[in-house]
Every structure is written in C-alpha cells, then in structure tokens.
C-alpha cells in the first residue's frame, strides 16, 4: 500500500459527451482498480482523451459521472496530490526550464523544490533540469509530463499515451516503472492506441470505439477471446472441406493447408480420425491479440 492515502479506484458511470452534434463519448461505464495497471485502449479519435479529461474535471460531461475514489476530481481537497496526470497536448512554456516547470506546480500539491529534483531524477531528466523546455525532444517532454504527474507521489496515476515519442529503451523503462508503481498498490490508468505498446504492461484492458465501451476485462480474458485456430494439412482437401461443412466449421485455405478457426486441434484431429481422413499436419496457431483489438475497435471487419 502506498503510504498515507489509500489508492482510489477510478470509475466512469454512464458517461457521455457531445461537442455540438458530435457524440465523442457515449454511455461509457468502467472501473479502474488499485494495484493494477489498466490499459485504456482505442484508436485515435475514439474518445479516450475526452474521457480522461472528464475524469480530471477539465471537460464537463454531458451525461453521467466520472469519479475518483467515489467523488468528482474537483471535490477533493488536494486533487493534484491524489491523482497525478499527464495528458496529451498538455503544454510546457518553452521559455521555462524543466525544474521551474515543476516548481511552479509544487506549491499546489504541497511539495518543495527538492522533490522536483527527485522526480526529475526518477524520470532521467537530471541533466536537462536547468535547460529550457523549448529545447527538449518529444521524449524528454513525455518524461517531464510524467515527472509532473509524479510530483506529489500520488496514489493514482492517469497517463495519456505516455509511450508516444519514447525510444524503445524508454518504452522498456516505462513498462518496468508502471509495473513497479502498481505493485506498490497504486491505481494506474494508461491510454494507448496500440495494444502492442501496453500488452506487456497492463493487467486489465478497457477498449472503446467511437466513444462506446466495446470490451473490459483482464488481459488474460482478452487473450482467451483471441481463440485458437487449427492449421491442417491433408492430401485430400476435398474431403476436409466436406468434413468441415458437415460439422459446421469454417475452413479457409492458407498456404499449403487450411485453417479452421475457433476449433481446438484435438477436436479437428478426432473428427479426421473418425472420418478416416489422412492428416500430414495438425497444429494450433497462436492467438493474435492485436487482431482481437482491431476487430473490437472496428478497424477490421
């Protein structure tokens, strides 16, 4: 458990937002638990950032509620110390140094300048602390955003696309860092438009498309949904097709053989044996999470 404050759950209930005639978020409900890293996934423009901004009191919901530990963000006495947030498109004044940027927000979360140095060190920006942000790379800005979120050592973190602009080394570092924060009992919500980016980081996934919830579960349940495909090679493809038709299985030619989706290899093998069908290969092909993600978000039919 993290020190003094119990990590709050984040909760969105029947949340909706219209910008004019555009329905950006629609009847969205999900819950983010402490002690886990939750991936908030959806393609660009699916409503992720709007949802996060409603959760943090920056955008007023048209319908429903977005709660931090059971209350609206703004109702907490020191909200910035409860939830550390790094949102996409949050700016930095180019003429301000990294250290001065943090120092500007330190009084409101009740920390001193030493803590600013500490978080800069934590995100690997010590050497650039006294340089103006105008000269920072995208990756350095991401790190400064993360440092800002960490300033108060908050029990909950909301990070919008934190991997954007990080080099591969930075992404590996971020992965370990987020896992570490969740292991301390903190609530960690990370948005991304690429499942692969957070696949090795998250425990839970919330997937939205066109502002609506399409899936919420643990990552392992999502993986199970990917289903197994069975790959079959036979010298008598005609008889295989007949067999599949008989059983009501799909059967798609691929390479030198065929694929039977959503049917375990054992079942296909047993059926072939019973029908006296000669098989040269019978194999399970791995679940492809990215495929499931794309299917859920409607990127592929």
């Amino acid at each position: 458990m993290v020190g003094r404050v119990e990590a709050p759950a984040l909760e969105v209930v029947g949340l909706g937002k219209s910008f004019g005639s555009v329905r950006a978020v629609d009847d969205l409900s999900f819950r983010v638990e402490p002690g886990r890293v939750t991936g908030f996934l959806g393609s660009n423009g699916s409503g992720k950032t709007t949802t996060l901004r409603m959760l943090l009191g920056l955008v007023r919901p048209t319908d429903g509620r977005a709660l931090v530990g059971g209350h609206a963000y703004a109702e907490h006495p020191v909200p910035g110390a409860l939830v550390g947030a790094a949102l996409e498109a949050t700016g930095f004044h180019p003429g301000r140094t990294g250290a001065a940027h943090l120092a500007a927000y330190a009084p409101q979360v009740g920390v001193g300048r030493e803590r600013c140095r500490e978080v800069l060190d934590q995100v690997g920006l010590t050497a650039a602390a006294d340089r103006k942000v105008g000269g920072y790379s995208l990756g350095m800005r991401q790190r400064l955003g993360l440092a800002t979120a960490l300033l108060a050592d908050p029990p909950a973190l909301v990070l919008d696309e934190p991997a954007n602009g990080l080099d591969p080394e930075g992404i590996v570092w971020l992965r370990g860092f987020l896992r570490h924060l969740a292991a301390q009992g903190r609530t960690v919500l990370v948005s991304s438009h690429v499942l692969g980016e957070v696949q090795h980081t998250v425990d839970d996934v919330v997937v939205i498309a066109r502002g609506r919830l399409v899936h919420a579960s643990s990552l392992s349940e999502l993986a199970a949904m990917a289903g197994a495909r069975t790959y079959v090679e036979t010298p008598a493809p005609g008889r295989l097709a007949e067999l599949c038709a008989e059983r009501g299985w799909a059967c798609t030619p691929t390479g030198a053989g065929h694929e039977v989706p959503d049917v375990p290899a054992a079942e296909v093998g047993a059926a072939a044996y019973a029908a006296g069908l000669e098989l040269h290969q019978l194999a399970t092909r791995g679940a492809d999470l990215e495929d499931v993600f794309l299917r859920l978000t409607g990127a592929v039919a």
Binding site: T90, H93, Y105, P107, Q108, G110
Partner: protein, 266 residues
C-alpha cells in the same frame, strides 16, 4: 498554505520563471525615461525671446504625469499575458489539474496582477524620475521631487499602474488568444480611446461619457495628464476614477469567468 495562497505562489513562480516580466518592466522604465526626458526638454526649453510652454510645478506635474498617460500599455499587457500565455502554450491544462476551482485560479491571477502592476509602477517612476528630474532641474525651474503634489501624483501613478494590470488580466480572460489580445490593447489604447476622448469631448453633453472611458478614469486618479491639459474635459474625482477602473476589471473578469473559464479545456 491555503488553497488560494498556494495558487498565488504557483502564479508567481510561473510569471517569474520566464524572462518576459522583467523584460517588459525594463522596457517600461526605459520608455518612460525617454518620454520623460523628451517631455521635460520640450516644456522647459523655448527659443530666444519666447517663454517656455510651462514652468515651475506645472511643468514637473506634466512630466511626471506621463507615467499614466503613456506608460499604461505595459501593465495592461503583462496583466493580459497572465492568462493568454497559459492558453497559448497549453499550460492551462496543468494549471487546472493543480487547481480545478477556476475561480481560485482567476482570483490568484488578479491578485498577482495587482502586485506586479504596482512593481511596474515603481519601475516606471524610477525611469521617469531618473531621466526627467535632472532635465527639469538643469534647464527648468526645478525637479520639485519634494513637493507634496508631485509625490502624490507619483504614488497615485504607481497605484493606477496596478489597476491597469488587474484590468489587463480581466481582459485576457475575455480574449485569451494572445496575439488578438495584444493587438486589441494596442489598438484601443493608442487609437480608439484617444479619438473617442477627443470626439466625445467636442460634443456637448457627451463629454460626461468620455470621463468614464478607462484612460480618462485613470487620468482622474492621477489628476494630471496630457489630455486633461489639452482639452477642458471633465474628469471624475480621483476615487471615482479608481472605482471606474475597478469596475471595468470586475466586469471583464466576470465575463471571462463565465466565458473562457467556464469552457471545456481540451
């Protein structure tokens, strides 16, 4: 630290961590030094056989009066920038994450504006006196720096500079786009209001209205200005002028709170 003082400390650190505030303060001091010296020369030096346009205390008061007459663009701009830089560089998101009560954020900006405006007033006085006083005493009838009327005019000049900065913050809350806000300020102060004052002053019955223009209200506070010397315009009493300026600041701030500061921050 209370919520408000924390917000005020944050605003102070934001303003002072970039170069702009002292560049503008220096600019104001230098500009007033130049105008003050030029004015002192033009009032006290006359061709052979002619009397100088003004002499004695009047010359001194007119020279020191340029603090308000030409210096007020600087506090207006710095007050406006307290809001517009946050919008321009998208730091408003982080500011509102730290303090979601937008009234507190705006209130802290207004208080900081008042303080920084007074500081600009002092910078202006320093520039003005440093360049104007030596000229007045060398070629005119004296600097009159120990005259109570001069001291009063300078102190009120500092006060009115503070009020201009507060008004600027209110204006920034209404027009948060930085370039638009600065252009509007320059256009209004250098063009619209001077013409309006002359035009309104020329029409019987409307000169009363011109006393309520912000520049005229500021002149009323200070009690000396180019305009009030040039035309016989009725000015409000000093306290009335201050109230009018505060009224503008309050109205603009309220409008900004209901418009810009009520909007979704995306």
């Amino acid at each position: 630290m209370s919520r408000f003082t924390a917000a005020l400390a944050a605003e102070w650190r934001k303003l002072t961590s970039t170069a702009l505030w002292w560049v503008l303060a220096l600019g104001m001091a230098a500009y007033l030094a130049f105008v003050g010296a030029a004015m002192a020369f033009s009032l006290t030096v006359a061709p052979e056989g002619f009397a100088p346009p003004l002499g004695g205390l009047d010359a001194a008061l007119t020279v020191y009066g340029v603090l308000n007459a030409v210096g007020y663009v600087f506090p207006l701009v710095v007050g406006t920038l307290l809001v517009t830089t946050e919008v321009r560089h998208k730091t408003l998101t982080q500011t509102l994450l730290a303090e979601p009560r937008r009234g507190v954020v705006l209130g802290a900006k207004l208080v900081l504006a008042a303080g920084i405006g007074l500081l600009y007033g002092v910078a202006g006085v320093v520039g003005l006196v440093a360049a104007g006083a030596p000229v007045l005493s060398a070629v005119g009838d004296g600097a009159f720096l120990d005259d109570p009327e001069v001291v009063r005019a300078l102190l009120l000049g500092v006060l009115v500079t503070g009020l201009w900065a507060v008004l600027g913050t209110g204006f920034g809350a209404v027009v948060p786009q930085q370039v638009a806000a600065v252009v509007a300020i320059l256009a209004f102060t250098q063009f619209v209001e001077p013409i309006a004052r002359l035009a309104l002053g020329a029409v019987d019955g409307l000169s009363v209205v011109s006393a309520y223009l912000p520049g005229a209200a500021a002149d009323a506070v200070v009690g000396a200005s180019l305009f009030s010397q040039m035309g016989d315009v009725d000015l409000l009493p000093a306290w009335g002028g201050a109230l009018v300026l505060l009224g503008y600041a309050a109205a603009l701030t309220l409008a900004g709170r209901l418009a810009t500061f009520a909007r979704d921050v995306v």
